[in-house]
Symmetry: C2
Subunit: 253 residues, 2 copies
Amino acid sequence: MVQIGAMMKREPLPPAPAFQPLYRQIKALLTEGLATGEWRPGEPIPSEIELAHRYKVSQGTVRKAVSELASENVLVRRQGRGTFVATHAHVGTQLSFLRITPDGEAVRDLEPTLIDLRRQRADAAAAGLLGLAAGASLIRLRRTLAINGRCVVFEEVRLPAERFRGLDIATVTAHGCLLYSLYESAFGVKIVAGSERVKAVCADADTAQRLCVQPGAPLLQMERVAYTYGEIPVELRRGFCDTRMHHYANDLG
Amino acid sequence: MVQIGAMMKREPLPPAPAFQPLYRQIKALLTEGLATGEWRPGEPIPSEIELAHRYKVSQGTVRKAVSELASENVLVRRQGRGTFVATHAHVGTQLSFLRITPDGEAVRDLEPTLIDLRRQRADAAAAGLLGLAAGASLIRLRRTLAINGRCVVFEEVRLPAERFRGLDIATVTAHGCLLYSLYESAFGVKIVAGSERVKAVCADADTAQRLCVQPGAPLLQMERVAYTYGEIPVELRRGFCDTRMHHYANDLG
DNA sequence: GAGTGGTCTAGACCACTCA
DNA sequence: GAGTGGTCTAGACCACTCA
């Protein structure tokens, strides 16, 4: 099976150009406010006019900064109501990182089930991907995902113990094993982006049993690095999906 | 193996709201000019000031329309030079629809090889996906793709014969089997978007041989519907990839 | 009706490209 | 230096939400 360490970091950003427009500076200030928790997921940020006064720029410049963050799904604008920090707390957005869909129908129901949770040391690969020292403490949890009543995904998640101090089985189950919502509400860690690597692999004995497939059956393997504000990596994930009646959906262009 | 007919059409657009802002009307006019070939891939469109005069709106309104098309990779802005119609003719953009990457390195070299090309009748599923009458004439071609010298993808492409009248082996090989570039230059069909469904499947005997894997080995199956301007479907594709040393890359969020 | 984001304009000036 | 897209402003008015 392919090592999760075979994943690469997200492409580094190109070197910042000498000239930085005002709206990008405003965007950086807004991102800072989000990262420090000044505005929390689900909450409104100040109105454009108020932000314009605060930063001493025109409303148009604020708009441009906010628009970029909205196009990255970091903020959500609602005409007539305000601009809100995106959140994984709502049912609709819980699915935004799940690309697995049943072949003929929509996702009606999602039921994650925790298998186990334990501490482990980061190997060199995991440490590198998470920007930690080798041997740093990780939390590893495993779960299955049933879609519309059918168990089709088995995944292993690794988190830096530092940032998720105190995470235990009780906390996870209390949140119904909805991880991104849990990270947000219990640890102030908002997942905003991820990069995935997908492969076809053969089911090993353990995974086969958990997904009720034959050992050796083809499974879709998904490896993910997930990022919080500022492209900081905070979660590693490797999942296996039985794609006989489901698929990984992706739009190009 | 899953039928390509199991694919679904792209989500239909939500019903157009009663209120349509000016810049969307401008965007529609620009899209029309692109679809009719007034401006062809690689060519510049008129400057923003000129378009503003033509459509009798402000430059800002033109900018907003152009910006949306640029964010959809339909147009490409180049500061100081102008705004250009996106094209598959350049090496960089030829890869924009290819999500397969070698595990440890970048794609340095891409070598497609045509296997065969023939006419066939559309089955109900293909006709439905392409918006054709059942039994309409299709062109089916098959090819392999070598990445950095290693043959890892085998794919079958189906096209409506009507729109690609006269497409034959000589034309394809003359273009080095670079399909999207060929569609563009020889048929005026610019591919601008696609939706894919990815699964893990077992290699059948024929595919296994073409990719030099064991029959039954796990392969990544990619099914695609590709669209030209205005979300018109114009190509069906099904590919298989040996992912032992390659992966399907995808960014989330 | 007050407050929000959304659209549109006109105009100034900047960054960049190319002859 | 002329022409392009990129930024920024100020201000008017519109669409929408909510009390």
